[in-house]
Amino acid sequence: MKVENACLLVVDDIAEARYAKVRALQKAGWSVNETSGGEETLAFVASRPTDLVVLDTMLPDILGTEVCREIKRTRPDIMVLQTSATFVGADHRVSALDAGADAYLVEPAEAPVLVATVRALLRAKSAEDQLRVANERLLARTLELEALLCSAPIGLAFFDKAGRCTRINDEFAGISALAAKGQIGRTFKEIFPNSASSLEMLLGEVFSTGTALRNIELSEGSSAASRHWLTGFFPVRDASGDITAAGCWAVDISERKRAEEHKELLIHELDHRVKNTLTVVQSLASQTFRGAGLDAKVEAFENRLCALSAAHDVLTRGSWRAADLRELVVKAAELHGASDRFSVEGPDLKLKPKAALALAMGLHELCTNALKYGALSSSEGRVNVCWSIEGETGPPRLRLIWKETGGPRVETPVDRGFGSKLLEKSLASDLKGTISLDFSPDGVTCAMSAPIAVCE
């Protein structure tokens, strides 16, 4: 309600007196209704919008003080200005104010005094209205938050600076197999004796730095019975920005953790079995072909098998989601005992499993060739492997260059072996890219280009 838009009601059984008050208030700009009896007044305020009643005391049916009492009982938001020309003594005024009247005016009152008094009362009412609306809004918000606290599938709790719990929901209390009721006022040391030190540190950090901490994993217990939570801590600030409390949320991720551990175990077990099978295959090849003048071939086969297996290791470390490109290159150099002859440059990049295996096999062929005929066959030669993402024109591509320097003069091979085939056909197709192998006299260069889709 705005003061200037208020709806007024003037109650007086004497027409002249009523008219004078109505006139004065209308001239001041208000819309004014009028009644002359108690019953009529109560019926009016019950059915018509009314912000303030100018209420005469001496009415023919009910005493004005009683009318006031009734209005305040049913509509406490309506302001009552009690007036009287008859009851002017102190005790009358006291009993009228005690009956609920907001002010008392002895008549005859001069028009400006009446208007000023009404305006003052309306100001108070307006302030009260605003407060009530704000209160209602706050209450609604509180109820929403309370409902959220009760029904959210995550644990929520608030702690004051002394570490005492000011609010906690059942989900959070359930973490310690407690009921939320009865935890208010207890410190987190009492509620969570097992995680007290980490909680103390995290809450302390929130209070001292004012920054929220997200996605912190907390664990309790050991091995199979262990429990894990994903938690977050955040400051609660008052209107002036001071931190008054710290909140904490927690989600039980024990099941997910167990599933992840199980998956890791399965991956390692499978990896172990694959390695065993590869070794059996190696043995079969050895038993089948060795001694038939094929020893060198068997050895080349064994080395390829080892390269494949080494790439599996790199992938297993990445849970078979991706393999680190640098690790693949370093591993290939290591397998050929040539780590110190390699320089490796490029951004951190993860390759998808298929591309990683293909590239590892390709690198193995390049290493083998370099050891036999290329840069690694002399004591001076070196290999530089560098890669980058390029994409100024068109979609981004991974570009990798193997470059040998300082080795003996390179002769272009007359007859291309499996190594070249593997590089130019198989690797190119697995990477969905292009490979160019250049046997220039001062060193072999192999340039690969593949769409970025081969990367994780």
Partner: protein, 127 residues
């Protein structure tokens, strides 16, 4: 026969016949002689304790049973050992996490390196 290989007899603990065959072949090419071959944990425990050998090569997983108890007997006899396995070393049980090992599949050179490392390791222990 290399100098290192002279007089060193190997206890082989491996449940997979073809893998054992491959190991025997590589060991013989490297100049080592097989002292005994255990195919399961029972044999491994017995031979580890009783056989006359100067180096043990153990598979980690013998038909689903870990070979670490046999490895402990080898270690207690202060005989050098190598694990030959498809498991990555991080999966080894204490106190064998840093033990010399060779990743399956392996070639003769890698096996030779692992043996040299194990023997020099134990030579250092003796000092």
């Amino acid at each position: 026969m290399t100098d290192a290989a002279r007089n060193i007899r190997v206890l082989l603990v491996e449940d997979e016949g073809l893998v054992a065959l491959l190991l025997e072949e590589m060991l013989s090419e490297l100049g080592y002689e097989i002292a005994a071959h255990a195919r399961c944990i029972g044999e491994a425990l017995q031979l580890a304790a009783e056989a006359d050998y100067g180096l043990a090569i153990l598979d980690v997983n013998l038909n689903g049973v870990a070979s670490f108890p046999a490895a402990e007997i080898v270690r207690d006899r202060r005989i050098p050992l190598i694990f030959a396995t498809g498991y990555q070393q991080s999966n080894f049980q204490q106190p064998f996490q840093g033990a010399p090992s060779v990743q399956k599949p392996f070639n003769k050179a890698a096996l030779g390196c692992a043996i040299t490392a194990a023997l020099s390791c134990s030579a250092l222990d003796a000092v």
